[in-house]
C-alpha cells in the first residue's frame, strides 16, 4: 500500500544512525584520552563550543545592530557592542570556570551489575577565583551533579556511575562541564578514570529461593516452633541453660534443677548446620551462567544478612564456609571475577 517507509521508521533509522556515529566518535575520543586518577584541567584538555543559547543571543545582537543601523542610534550601537563584548568575555569566563580545577579519585565503591555505584571524587580549586555551577556527570547522560567551589577550596563529591556488566571494568567516560556564566558556551573536559571498578553479578529480580537440599537438608524444613519440637531423646547431645519463661515442662531437667537455685532447661545445641554449606554453580539449578552467578550472589548476601557461614566452590577453587563481612566481600569478588 505504502511504498515509502513511514516517517516514524525513517526517524528511528536516522536516530539509530546518529547514535551509532556518536558512539563511534565517543569511543575514538575516549581511546585518545590517557586514563588518570588525578586530572588537572588546563588549556589542553578543556574544550569549548557555542551552545544553542549563543545562537539566540547572536540573533538578538543582530536584530539590535540592525535597529541601530537603521535608526542611526549611536546609543544603540554602544549598547549592542557592550552586549557583544560581554558575550565574548563570557566565552573567556566560561573556559576559566573549568581551567585550573583539579579532580582526584578518592574511592570507587564496588557495585552490582545494572546498578549505579558511588564514585568519590575530590575537587580542588587552587585559584583565587570562585567557580560557579560546575557539573560532573557521566558523558552522554543528562543528569549532572552540580557544585560551586569557592576560591582555594576543595569539595568531596559522590557521583553514581552506572555499571552495565560484571567484572573488573574501567568506569564510563566522565565529564566535567559548565555553562556558567551566560549559557552561551558549553565548556567540558572529558575524564577517563584509571582505576577499574569491581562489578558484582546482577542481583536477581525476584527473591532467591531457599538454599538447595544438597547443601543443607535442614534448610528446607519449616522452622519448627519450640512447642512442637519433640522432646530431645536421650541419645542426643544436650546442652543446658537457665530456664526461660515459656519453656515446656518436659524440657526442664529436673535432676539438675534440684541442685541449682533455679530451673535448668535442656535444649539442643545450636546446630553446626552452616559448617558444611559450600555453594556451587550446580546448586542453583539454573543453566545460564550469569543467572547462576546472580543466584549465588543472592545466597551469599542472604547468608551474610543472617550471620551464617557460607563457602563457595567455583571451578577448581574453593572458599571454605565462614561468616562475616570479609568473607562476603571475598565471595562477591570471586563471583565478580569468575569466568
Amino acid at each position: 500500500m505504502n511504498p515509502t517507509p513511514p516517517l516514524a521508521q525513517r526517524w528511528a533509522l536516522h536516530s539509530r544512525l546518529r547514535a551509532a556515529l556518536q558512539q563511534r566518535w565517543r569511543a575514538w575520543w575516549a581511546a585518545r584520552l590517557a586514563p588518570t586518577d588525578h586530572l588537572s584541567l588546563n588549556q589542553r584538555n578543556v574544550y569549548i563550543v557555542p551552545s544553542s543559547a549563543a545562537l539566540w543571543l547572536g540573533l538578538t545582537l543582530l536584530v539590535l545592530l540592525l535597529a541601530s543601523i537603521n535608526d542611526r542610534l549611536n546609543l544603540g550601537y554602544l549598547f549592542t557592542f557592550l552586549l557583544a563584548g560581554s558575550l565574548v568575555a563570557a566565552m573567556h569566563a566560561a573556559h576559566a570556570n573549568l581551567r585550573g580545577l583539579c579532580v582526584q579519585v578518592l574511592q570507587i565503591e564496588p557495585v552490582f551489575a545494572g546498578q549505579r555505584g558511588a564514585l568519590h571524587v575530590d575537587v580542588h580549586n587552587p585559584s583565587r577565583r570562585a567557580r560557579w555551577s560546575v557539573g560532573l556527570r557521566v558523558q552522554g547522560e543528562a543528569s549532572t551533579l552540580w557544585f560551586d567551589l569557592p576560591a582555594q577550596s576543595s569539595q568531596r563529591l559522590q557521583l553514581y556511575v552506572p555499571a552495565p556488566t560484571r567484572g573488573l571494568h574501567p568506569l564510563a567516560l566522565l565529564e566535567l562541564h559548565t555553562r556558567h556564566p551566560l549559557g552561551a558556551f558549553h565548556v567540558w573536559c572529558p575524564w577517563r578514570v584509571a582505576s577499574p571498578r569491581l562489578v558484582y553479578p546482577a542481583l536477581p529480580a525476584q527473591a532467591a529461593p531457599p538454599y538447595p537440599d544438597a547443601a543443607d537438608p535442614r534448610a528446607l524444613r519449616p522452622p519448627a516452633s519450640i512447642a512442637h519440637r519433640p522432646a530431645p531423646s536421650a541419645g542426643e547431645d544436650w546442652t543446658w541453660r537457665d530456664y526461660r519463661a515459656g519453656d515446656p515442662l518436659r524440657q526442664i531437667d529436673w535432676k539438675k534443677s534440684a541442685r541449682h537455685p533455679q530451673w535448668i532447661s535442656r535444649c539442643t545445641p545450636p546446630a553446626p548446620r552452616n559448617a558444611a554449606r559450600v555453594l556451587c554453580l550446580a546448586d542453583t539449578g539454573l543453566s545460564e551462567r550469569e543467572a547462576q552467578l546472580s543466584r549465588l550472589c543472592a545466597w551469599v548476601l542472604r547468608a551474610h544478612a543472617q550471620s551464617e557461614a557460607v563457602g563457595l566452590q567455583l571451578g577448581t577453587q574453593v572458599w571454605p564456609a565462614l561468616a562475616g563481612d570479609a568473607q562476603r566481600d571475598r565471595l562477591l569478588r570471586a563471583l565478580a571475577l569468575f569466568d
Binding site: 542611526r72 542610534l73 546609543l75 549598547f79 563584548g85 556564566p181
Partner: protein, 706 residues
C-alpha cells in the same frame, strides 16, 4: 518581609528578582504608551509576583491565550493598526509582561531576556539622553545578572555573586565595545521607516499664533549647542534662523508655500541653484568656524546662525538654502544632528542671480499683503504718520520712525501679556502696550506693511549662554525669539530689524531674561543659596550633556575619517576603516590577554598566600643546601631534619628551629605567638638566616620557576 524572602525557594526568589528588573525595563515604555497598557503590564507583573510569593501554579494556557487576544484587540482598536512603531512597542511591552506567566523552561527565560534587551534598545528610538542611557545601562547589567543567575544550578546560588559576575563580564567587554563603537562603519538606513511625526516635541514650529512662544520662553530644554573655534562671538549678534513667516490672517502667521511650482516640483527636493544668497559684509569680519549640534525639533530648518556658509555633516543628506534664507533639509531630523560651518556677522540676505525680477516682485507683493479689515487702528495710525508734515521717505526711515515709537512710547517687554481677544496688532500698539518678541515683531511688521514697506517675521533663537566649563554655547528653548526683516528697495536686500531690542535692550545679548517667579516652597526651603548652586549644577549638566553629544551621539562617519586622518591615513575610506576596526579589535583582545596574564601571574596582582611563599622560599633554600626532605615536609619536620643532618653548627640549628617553630605557630597556633609578629618580621629574619645576597634572590627565583 525578610522572612518571606528567606522562606521562598530559590526559583521563586529568582522570579521575583526578574519581575523587579522587568518593572525597571518596562517603566519608561509604559509611561509613553497608552494608560491601559501600562496598567495591564503592571497588573500582570503583580499577578506573577503574587503567584511566586504564594508558590501557586501558573495560569492555564487558555487564560494566557485569552489575555493575549484581549491585548491584541485593544492595541488594534487603540492604534487602528497592528503595524508601526508605537503599536509594536506597546505590544512588545504587553508580551513581555505576559511571558512572565509562562516561565517554565530555561528557554522561556531566554526569550524574556531577549525581549528585555530589545525593549532597552527600542527606548533609544524616542530619546538618546544621558538619563536614558543610564537607565539602559542599569537595565542591561540587571538582565545580564539574571541571565547569569539562570545558569547557576546549585540551590544556594546567591544573587549577589551573579551580579558581580555580570559586572565583571561587562567590564571585560568594555574595551571591545569601545573598539567596535569607534570603528564600526556607520552606514545609512537599510530600509526607510515612516518618520515619526513632530508631535510631542516642544520647540519652534512652522507657524505661530501670537502668544505661542509664551510657554517656550519658560522652558529650559536645550535647543542646540554651538562650539566656536577661536574667537567667541558677541551673543547679541547670534541669530539662529528658523522658519520665516510671511502670510498672516491678522492673528495667525505661517510660512509662504514654495513658489515656482515648475521650478521645484516637490518641496523636499533642493533647487538646482538657490534663489537667495547671503552677502559677505562690507566690512571684513573674521569668519568664525563653528560646530553645531541640533536637538530634533520637528522642523526641517537647520537653525544656523544667520549668514552661515553651507553646513557640512555626514548625516545631513540633501541640503539647500531655501528662499527664506534658512538652510533646509529634505526631512525634519528625528535624532540629534551635527554639522560644521563658518559664520560671519552682519550678513545680508539678497536675491541671487537665479532670482528673476518677477520672482522678486512676487515676494514683495506677498510681504505687503495684509488681511482686509484687519488692524483698523494700526492702519489709521500709520496713515496719519504718512500724511504728517514730514512723512518717512523710505523703508529705512519707516523703520527708524517705528523703532523710536517703540522706544519712547512707553512699551514694555513682558512674558505675561495676558489673553488678547481683539486684533493683536491694535492691542499691542494701543491697548496693552506690552508683550514679548512675538507680539512686538508681528505688530511691527503689520505697521510696516500698512506703510507699504515689505516686511516679514523671522522666528528662531537669539543669543545663547556660554558654558565656561567647556566653552560651548547652549541655546535653550527659552531663547526662542521672533524678529522682523525689511526689504530695502534701494539695496535690494533683506535687512534684519529686531524691534524687541527697542523695547527691552536687555533681552538681546545680555543674559537678562525674564524668568518665571521661583516656586515659593522651593524658595522658602533653599533661600538665596539655591540659585547660585542650581546655576552651577546646570552648567555642569550642560557640559556633560555637551560632551555626551560630541563623543557619543555625534560620532559619525566624518569623525571616524577625521580620526583615521589623525592616525596618519591620508585618504580614509571604508577599507581603511575596516582595517582599523580589525586592528582595534586585535588591540582590545591583546589588552585583554595582557591584563589576564598580569592578573594571573604578576606578583602585585597575584598575591599568593604570603605564608606559603615564605615557606616555599625556606624549602628552596634547604633543597639548595642539599638537604633531602620527605614527601610532605612541615616546619617542624624540617627543623628535625636540619638537626639530624649534623652538618650545621648547633647554634645555627637552634636558630633555625626557633624560627621554623615560630613560622609554624604563626599559621597553626596564632594565639601562642607572643608578642604578635607580622609575617614581614619573619621574612626579614629568614633573609638574615639565609644570608641572602642579591644573587641568591635570583637563584630563589629560578629554583621556584624550575
Amino acid at each position: 518581609m525578610n522572612d518571606i524572602w528567606a522562606r521562598l525557594p530559590r526559583s521563586e526568589r529568582d522570579t521575583l528578582a526578574m519581575l523587579g528588573v522587568l518593572l525597571w525595563v518596562l517603566a519608561p515604555h509604559a509611561l509613553h504608551g497608552p494608560l491601559w497598557a501600562a496598567a495591564a503590564s503592571l497588573g500582570l507583573l503583580a499577578w506573577r509576583a503574587a503567584l511566586a510569593v504564594g508558590q501557586k501554579p501558573l495560569p492555564a494556557r487558555w487564560v494566557r491565550l485569552g489575555v493575549l487576544a484581549c491585548f491584541v484587540g485593544l492595541s488594534a482598536w487603540q492604534f487602528r493598526s497592528l503595524f508601526g512603531r508605537e503599536v509594536g512597542s506597546t505590544l512588545l511591552v504587553l508580551l513581555l509582561a505576559l511571558k512572565t506567566l509562562e516561565l517554565r523552561a530555561r528557554r522561556d527565560a531566554l526569550v524574556v531576556f531577549m525581549l528585555g534587551f530589545f525593549l532597552l534598545l527600542s527606548a533609544f528610538m524616542r530619546s538618546q539622553s544621558l538619563g536614558l542611557a543610564a537607565w539602559a545601562l542599569v537595565g542591561l547589567l540587571a538582565l545580564l545578572s539574571l541571565l547569569v543567575q539562570a545558569h547557576r544550578f546549585t540551590q544556594q546560588a546567591r544573587l549577589i555573586d551573579s551580579v558581580r559576575t555580570a559586572l565583571r563580564l561587562a567590564a571585560w567587554g568594555t574595551p571591545l565595545m569601545a573598539a567596535l563603537f569607534v570603528f564600526f562603519p556607520r552606514v545609512g538606513p537599510l530600509w526607510s521607516l515612516p518618520a515619526p511625526g513632530p508631535g510631542g516635541r516642544s520647540g519652534l514650529s512652522a507657524d505661530m499664533t501670537v502668544g505661542d512662544v509664551a510657554h517656550l520662553a519658560l522652558s529650559d530644554a536645550t535647543a542646540l549647542r554651538v562650539r566656536f573655534a577661536g574667537a567667541e562671538p558677541a551673543p547679541a549678534a547670534l541669530y539662529f534662523r528658523g522658519p520665516v513667516l510671511e502670510i498672516t490672517d491678522g492673528r495667525h502667521w505661517r510660512a509662504a508655500p514654495p513658489t515656482g511650482a515648475s521650478q521645484r516640483p516637490r518641496p523636499d527636493r533642493p533647487p538646482a541653484q538657490p534663489a537667495v544668497q547671503w552677502l559677505a559684509p562690507a566690512q571684513a569680519y573674521a569668519a568664525l568656524d563653528y560646530e553645531l549640534t541640533l536637538e530634533p525639533s520637528g522642523l526641517a530648518e537647520l537653525l544656523a546662525p544667520e549668514g552661515s556658509s553651507a553646513p557640512q555633516g555626514s548625516e545631513l543628506g540633501p541640503l539647500w538654502l531655501a528662499d527664506s534664507g534658512a538652510w533646509r533639509l529634505a526631512q525634519a531630523p528625528s535624532a540629534l544632528i551635527r554639522y560644521r560651518a563658518s559664520w560671519q556677522a552682519r550678513a545680508h540676505l539678497a536675491p541671487s542671480a537665479q532670482a528673476t525680477p518677477e520672482k522678486i516682485r512676487r515676494a514683495q507683493r506677498l510681504n505687503l499683503a495684509l488681511p482686509a479689515n484687519a488692524h483698523p487702528r494700526t492702519r489709521a495710525w500709520v496713515a496719519a504718520i504718512a500724511h504728517a508734515a514730514t512723512p518717512p521717505a523710505d523703508a529705512r526711515a519707516w523703520v527708524q520712525r517705528l523703532l523710536s515709537e517703540l522706544r519712547q512710547g512707553g512699551y514694555r517687554y513682558t512674558l505675561d501679556p495676558g489673553l488678547w481677544p481683539g486684533d493683536p496688532a491694535d492691542t499691542f500698539w494701543f491697548d496693552a502696550r506690552a508683550g514679548f518678541c512675538e507680539h512686538i515683531a508681528s505688530a511691527f511688521v503689520v505697521a510696516l506693511r500698512a506703510a507699504g514697506v515689505a516686511a516679514r517675521v523671522v522666528t528662531g533663537y537669539q543669543g545663547g549662554e556660554r558654558n565656561p566649563l567647556d566653552g560651548a554655547w547652549v541655546v535653550r528653548q527659552a531663547d526662542a525669539h521672533a524678529w522682523a526683516e525689511v526689504w530695502l528697495d534701494d539695496a535690494q536686500v533683506w535687512l534684519r530689524v529686531d524691534p524687541t531690542g527697542a523695547v527691552a535692550p536687555a533681552r538681546l545679548g545680555e543674559r537678562l531674561r525674564l524668568r518665571p517667579p521661583p516656586n515659593p516652597v522651593v524658595h522658602a526651603l533653599l533661600g538665596d543659596y539655591a540659585p547660585a548652586w542650581g546655576a552651577r549644577a546646570r552648567l555642569w549638566a550642560d557640559a556633560i550633556q555637551g560632551r555626551w553629544n560630541d563623543w557619543v551621539l555625534g560620532w559619525d562617519q566624518r569623525q571616524q575619517f577625521d580620526l583615521l586622518r589623525h592616525l596618519g591615513v591620508n585618504q580614509p575610506d571604508w577599507r581603511n576603516l575596516s582595517l582599523a576596526l580589525a586592528a582595534a579589535l586585535g588591540l582590545a583582545l591583546g589588552l585583554w590577554g595582557a591584563l589576564a596574564y598580569a592578573l594571573s601571574t604578576l606578583r602585585p596582582f597575584n598575591r599568593r598566600d604570603h605564608w606559603l611563599r615564605l615557606w616555599a622560599r625556606t624549602l628552596a633554600h634547604w633543597q639548595h643546601q642539599g638537604l633531602t626532605l620527605g614527601p610532605a615536609p612541615t616546619p617542624r619536620s624540617l627543623a628535625r631534619a636540619i638537626q639530624a643532618h649534623g652538618r650545621w653548627p648547633p647554634a645555627q640549628c637552634a636558630a633555625w628551629a626557633d624560627w621554623l617553630l615560630r613560622l609554624e605557630a604563626w599559621r597553626y597556633a596564632p594565639a601562642q605567638v607572643k608578642p604578635v609578629q607580622s609575617l614581614n618580621t619573619l621574612a626579614v629574619e629568614l633573609r638574615a638566616l639565609c644570608h641572602t645576597a642579591p644573587h641568591a634572590l635570583l637563584r630563589h627565583w629560578f629554583v621556584k620557576r624550575s
